[in-house]
Symmetry: C2
C-alpha cells in the first residue's frame, strides 16, 4: 500500500544528521513508501549530498523556516512558530498530503501543536501517548505515558479503546486483551478512579482482562496496559533506570580483573545477542493517539536505526487503518 509520511527533519538532538539518512535508509526497505522531508532546505540538502542520495520521486523536501528548540515552552512554540518544521509536518497530515508525521523534537510542543492542528477524534477527550515494550514472550503496548495526569475513569476507558485499536491495526489481532494497571494487595484495591475505570472497561465490549500489576507489563499478560500518564511516565522512566543500573553492574563485573575480562571475551557473542534483544532502539516511537491524524514521537536522542523504527511505526499505523479503527470502536461505545 502506497503511503506518504512527513518527517520533521530538524527535531531531536541530532536534527537532519540523523533524520535524513534514516529516511533514505527506510525507503530502501519499504518500496511503497514516500517521504516528505520537512525543514530548512539547505540543511536537508547537505545531508542528502553527504549520503550520496540520487534524486527520487519518492522523496521530496518541503521547506520550513523555523525550528522548535528542545527546551522551548510548548505554548510559545504553538503561538509563535507557525513555520516550524514540526508544525509544517503536522499541517501536511491535516491537508492530507501525508498520512502521518514523525518528530524527534520537543515532546510538549509536539503534543500541543498536533492537538491544536489536528483536533481529537469525536468521542476522545484526551489524546494519549502509547509505547511498545518488550515482554518475556513478545511485546505489549502501554498508555498513557505522560500526556495526561489527573485522568478520570472515562479517560482510562478511552485509552483502552485507543490501545486496542492500535494493536488491532499494527499486530493484526482482532480482539487484543486490555489490562488496567492497578495494585495487587487485596485490601487496597486501588483508588476510586481505577475502580470505576474497571467497571467501564468491563462493560465496553473490549476484550478486558481485568486488573494487572506492574510485573504483568514485562510478563506480557495482556496486549495493552492502560494507566494514567503520571503512573505510566514514572513506570517507563523507572524501567530505563533499572536497565541502566543492571547494565552498569554487568559491565563492572566483567571488568573486575584479568580473569573476568577473559570470561568477557568468551561471553561476548552471548552478551551481544542479549544486548540486541533488549535494544530499546527497536521500540523507538511513541504513538500519539486520539487525533484526526497519525503522529509519532521519536526519542530525542534517537540515532539512525532508532529513528527508522519510528518511521516504520508510522507506516504500520497508516497501513493498519488505525484512525478508522479508533473511530469505529469509539462509536461502538456510545451504542
Amino acid at each position: 500500500m502506497d503511503i506518504t509520511v512527513a518527517i520533521d527533519c530538524m527535531g531531536g538532538d541530532h536534527g537532519p544528521h540523523v533524520t535524513v539518512p534514516s529516511a533514505i535508509d527506510y525507503l530502501r526497505h519499504d518500496p511503497e513508501a514516500n517521504i516528505i522531508l520537512v525543514g530548512i532546505p539547505d540543511a536537508i540538502e547537505a545531508e542528502l549530498q553527504a549520503a550520496k542520495f540520487k534524486s527520487s520521486t519518492r522523496i521530496r523536501i518541503h521547506p520550513a523556516s523555523e525550528v522548535v528548540g528542545m527546551d522551548e515552552s510548548p505554548a510559545l512554540a504553538l503561538r509563535n512558530k507557525k513555520d516550524s518544521s514540526m508544525r509544517v509536518s503536522i499541517n501536511l497530515v491535516k491537508t492530507g498530503e501525508a498520512q502521518a508525521c514523525i518528530s524527534a523534537g520537543n515532546t510538549g510542543a509536539l503534543l500541543a501543536t498536533s492537538r491544536f492542528v489536528l483536533k481529537t477524534i469525536p468521542g476522545i477527550d484526551r489524546p494519549a501517548l502509547a509505547v511498545i515494550l518488550p515482554t518475556i514472550a513478545g511485546h505489549t503496548y502501554v498508555l498513557d505515558l505522560g500526556a495526561n495526569v489527573n485522568c478520570t475513569a472515562e479517560h482510562l476507558l478511552q485509552f483502552g479503546v485507543m490501545g486496542a485499536s492500535l494493536v488491532a491495526s499494527v499486530e493484526n489481532k482482532n480482539a487484543p486483551s486490555v489490562g488496567l494497571l492497578n495494585i495487587g494487595e487485596e485490601d487496597i484495591k486501588g483508588n476510586e478512579v481505577v475502580k470505576k475505570a474497571s467497571d467501564l472497561l468491563r462493560g465496553s465490549g473490549l476484550n478486558f482482562y481485568g486488573n494487572v500489576e506492574g510485573n504483568d507489563i514485562y510478563k506480557g499478560t495482556t496486549d495493552v496496559v492502560v494507566c494514567d500518564g503520571f503512573v505510566g511516565n514514572v513506570t517507563l522512566k523507572t524501567s530505563e533506570g533499572l536497565a541502566q543500573m543492571l547494565a552498569t553492574y554487568l559491565r563492572e563485573e566483567f571488568k573486575r580483573n584479568l580473569l573476568t575480562r577473559l570470561a568477557g571475551v568468551f561471553a561476548m557473542p552471548v552478551i551481544n545477542a542479549f544486548k540486541r534483544r533488549v535494544d530499546h532502539r527497536q521500540y523507538n516511537g511513541a504513538s500519539f493517539l486520539g487525533l484526526k491524524g497519525i503522529v509519532i514521537k521519536s526519542h530525542g536522542s534517537a540515532d539512525v536505526f532508532a529513528f527508522k523504527s519510528a518511521i516504520k511505526r508510522a507506516a504500520d499505523e497508516v497501513r493498519g487503518g488505525m484512525l478508522r479503527r479508533i473511530s469505529e470502536r469509539v462509536s461502538d461505545l456510545s451504542k
Copy 2:
C-alpha cells in the same frame, strides 16, 4: 546495644520452617540481640530441634494459638483472630517486651492490625511502607509502597519526614536528601497534589532535593524518594517484572547452543557475582513507618537468608532510635 525483637513465626509461605532457622542464624551474627519466637509452640519446637538448637537465654517461645492466612481478609483477621501469631507479636511491641516485630504474613492484615494496636505517632496521619532499593552507587529508600492510595500533599510531606528519619537512623546520615517522584516533561509538571507537596517539602526543613523522575530511583539521586502508594507499588512491581524478564533473556541466550553454553561456563563466576549483587533477598524487609512501634514486613516467599535481612532491618531501626527521630522531626514541622 541489647535489643529484643518479636518474630511472627507462623507468617509467610514457609512459616516456622524459614522463620525459626533464620532467627537462630541471626543471633549468631548479632550477640546483643534477643528474640521472641511467637506462634504455635509445637511447630516452633520442632524447628528448633531440627536445627539442633541448644536452649539459650537469648531466645524464647511465646505461644499464640491462631494463624492469619495469607489470603484472609485483613478486616476479619483484625476482628476475629486476637490470638494470632501476628497480633501477639505486635502486642509484645506495644507492651514493651519487644522493641520491634517482624512478620512475613498477610500484608493487609499486618498493616491493619499493627495500626490498630500500636496507633500512629502524633502528627502522622497515615503510616507508610518503605523499601530499600539498590542504585548504581549504593541504595535508596522509597515510600510509600502501597499502604496508601489517594494521598494528599500533607501525606507526602509526612512520608518525607518518615523516610528521612529512617535513613538518619539506619544509615547514620544527618540530613538525608529527599526527592519527590514526579514526571519530567516541562509542560506537564505533575498533578496538583505533587505540586503542592513540592511546596510543603521545600518549606519543611528537610534536605529537599526537589522533583526526581523514575530513573533517578536507580541512579540513586537522593537518599529518599517519596511517592503515593499507588505509584510506588506499580513502580516496585514493574521493576520486579523487568528484572525477571532480563534474567530470562540472559539465561536463554546462554542456553542457545553448545557454544553459548560453553561461554556460560567461562562466564559463570562473573554471572554469579552479578547475581549476588542484584540479589533482592538482601533488601528484604519493608518498614511500616509512622506507628508507635517498629514493624517490619518480610516478603511472604522469603527464605532463611532473606528473612534474616528483615530481622537485621528491625534491629537497625531500634538501635538507630528511629521512633524518636520521627517524633522529633514531626514536631519540628509544627514549629
